[in-house]
Amino acid sequence: MTENHSNSDSDSRNSSKRLVKILVIVGIGIPVLVELMTLFNLINVQIFDDEEVQEQPEPVAEVRQVTEGDTLFRDYRFPVTIELLRINVSAQEWRFELGLSVPDSVDREPLEIELDSMQLNSGKILAAGRNRSWNIQEGHTPPRIQAEWELPNGDIPGTLYISSFQQMQNDTASRVQQEVPLGNIPVRYNRE
């Protein structure tokens, strides 16, 4: 402005000008750049990538998923019905429950049902462990077949492997295993 400014004064004026320039470039320039890149990417993906997405539709799983009320071993002597399929949640645990039922006529012949293993959606495979098989003896009313697993929080069973020792048509007995892809499992919250 006027010439009576001292040297140091104009020095500090210059250095302050330089600081402002740097601050504007970093403090406003980078934000503007970030936003422009976002806009560019959004428009690019939304408008120009649409065809690509449609070209490769996700493969639709043809496998019929099993839910509560469905029947296993449908083509055998003793079909097994899924009576209960749910996840019980409480503050402490995340528990998967499975209940099966067999027809009353089972008491005329022996039947064995075994839960072999289970694959979770996270990829983990759980082995059956103890008490996961049921022997139904001749002349007894079928017991309640129910099993529970403590699962890692949030994990959901994807596939169940069940086998059954069944009498075949030709009077021989054989062991059949079925892979059961599970559908939607209802999650119930338990207030304690």
Partner: protein, 80 residues
Amino acid sequence: MLIINMPDETSHSTDANSNSTEPAKSWEQRNPEIEREITIDEYQPTGTLTLTLLYFAIVVLMWIFMYFVEFAGNAPSIID
């Protein structure tokens, strides 16, 4: 300190807050940072008009873009 003169701290007015009487020199005349006083009659806020139009243009563009996101994508927005 690097910055000595903050513009909002250099101009020392003599009669702050005396809103009732008109100061002898206007605020603009007392402030060394100000080159000339612009009265309401000479003031044409063309820059404001430019910025406002820019803002509206961005809003309009975003809404057109929104049409593609919400309606033309043919994909459901909400799952279950």
